[in-house]
Symmetry: C2
Subunit: 316 residues, 2 copies
């Protein structure tokens, strides 16, 4: 006995609306149409679905059972319709994002959190990687977006790049650090403290060397090398070490006061934090929406940095 889901749905509509006519209206069809469908069904099944000669039709027990399944079907198709609408509107789906650990943990993950408050049905898969790795994964299609500091002339072929923020680094230390209170610093004041370095394969490592040499420090003691922001911050908090961090990362931590910046102007690298994606690839709605969100968040972030930077942190 092969049954069409639509027919079960139809039975449910008839019962729930109390008649062929009402059911037809609910289904957006004409009364004769559903009448004929019911007749056909009864013939096919070989059993009555509605009691004979009752004018507002009265469903058989079998019909009630079938209608119950019909309601399940109606429910399922409705959620299907809903999810396609969500999906097409970029309100459902998933995005796979990868980037450098420090930025992902320090800036992006917070934005992901607020993004998901607005779009709870979009799932974000976050992984870590540096430029070469990101490029490979973008080409292979295992990630949708990369977030990474890149020199404009280093953007790999076949990838598009959208700058989000200039790559500015700052000297950072724990808020409890002896230097944190001073309004100006000399080289000799900085010199005694040990340094925390990012992993050697990170672009930040190079930054650290360049930054320090730009202020005249060529020889420094590395007391800790860590791959993740969390490890750097916790070592920072428990020691008097200094490190170099992207200003945006330090800025994002401003409310929880785990790290602060020192009033030393470093030479900033000629890279820009930005988004990477495969050039010829049209993004799914959810990914496009996420990208837009990130871009707008960085827009806002850079404005805040400008405002705040003038009076409090960007001091010399």
């Amino acid at each position: 006995m092969k049954i069409n889901p639509n027919h079960l749905n139809l039975l449910a509509a008839i019962i729930d609306n109390g008649g062929l006519g009402e059911g037809a209206v609910a289904l957006g069809k004409s009364q004769p149409s559903v009448s004929r469908t019911v007749s056909m069904l009864e013939a096919r099944i070989g059993a009555r679905l509605f009691e004979k000669g009752r004018k507002p039709v009265r469903p058989t027990e079998l019909c009630q059972s079938l209608a119950a399944q019909g309601r399940i079907i109606a429910q399922a198709t409705q959620t299907a319709e809903q999810t396609t609408d969500l999906y097409k509107g970029g309100r459902a789906g998933s995005a796979r994002v990868a980037g450098t650990p420090i930025f992902m943990d320090g800036v992006i993950s917070g934005m992901i959190a607020s993004f998901q408050r607005s779009f709870p049905d979009v799932s974000i898969h976050q992984t870590y990687g540096y430029l070469a790795d990101l490029r490979e994964q973008l080409i292979a299609g295992t990630i949708d977006l990369g977030i990474c500091p890149v020199r404009q002339d280093q953007v790999p072929d076949a990838l598009s790049f959208k700058p989000l923020l200039p790559g500015r680094n700052v000297l950072a230390c724990a808020p409890s650090h002896p230097l944190a209170r001073k309004s100006a610093l000399t080289l000799s004041e900085i010199a005694p403290y040990p340094w925390i370095a990012p992993p050697a394969d990170s672009p930040l490592y190079e930054d650290l060397r360049d930054a320090l040499s730009s202020i005249g420090i060529s020889d420094f003691r590395v007391s800790f090398t860590g791959g993740s922001l969390a490890s750097i911050l916790s070592v920072l908090a428990g020691s008097q070490a200094l490190t170099v961090l992207p200003y945006s990362v330090v800025f994002m931590q401003r409310h929880i006061r785990t790290v602060t910046s020192l009033p030393v102007r470093l030479e900033h690298p000629d890279r820009q934090l930005g988004l990477l994606w495969q050039s010829d690839r049209k993004h799914l709605p959810a990914i496009a929406r996420f990208r837009k969100y990130i871009e707008s968040e960085f827009d806002e972030l850079s404005q805040q940095i400008n405002v705040r930077g003038r009076d409090s942190i960007w001091r010399r």
Copy 2:
């Protein structure tokens, strides 16, 4: 976005079988058919359902979500098909049965129990009533079957009657009763004990008078009048009262030893316990099956009564 449940089902079939061709086979269709349906769906929805240019097709995230609903739909239609098969085979549905309380409780309910062991999806609705009431309800269609002792010439118009068992009554008492051990009884031995009578509107009440007068007792003391078998049996057990019960009822209790019959041959009424139903009404499969079951059970019962009656109970 209006979606056809069949299409969701189709997506599920494609994914679960790993390709358009396999899916088509599983659905009993041709490959081009499902291919075109998928294309149409993608156009309608306005989003890809399978990644472009992958030769064993690979479903999109959206497609996976839709397929999940498709599986729900497939499940629902399958159970619908199953229930119609059960229903048509009389293995699902319900039957509304009414009858005289003593027979229903003493004989029929036990048969219902064993029936439902074989056909657990058939629900039986049991109510009580005497002939006039049963007739009314059968005509009105509020019950499907009646079970009642009826004189063949009293069968109401528009009803059919199928005899199950001759209406034989016996004197009954508790197994602990002083008379229960005796192999023969005289009128004077019976006379001292009080009597339990069925309710006055029951046909059994008339039987009681007739039966007792047939053995010469015209004046008797009624100590209890009860409507249900359970109440009669419990009073019987706690007293030295006697009563008149249908032999089949006493017989059905033979294993639990709550009641026994006395070796007195009563004049039996010219009625037959039998099934009643509306003549022109075609029964639903489940009802027909239940009726058949009851008939065969009574067949067996009357054979057992015959065998056992000869040597143990039908003594004079």
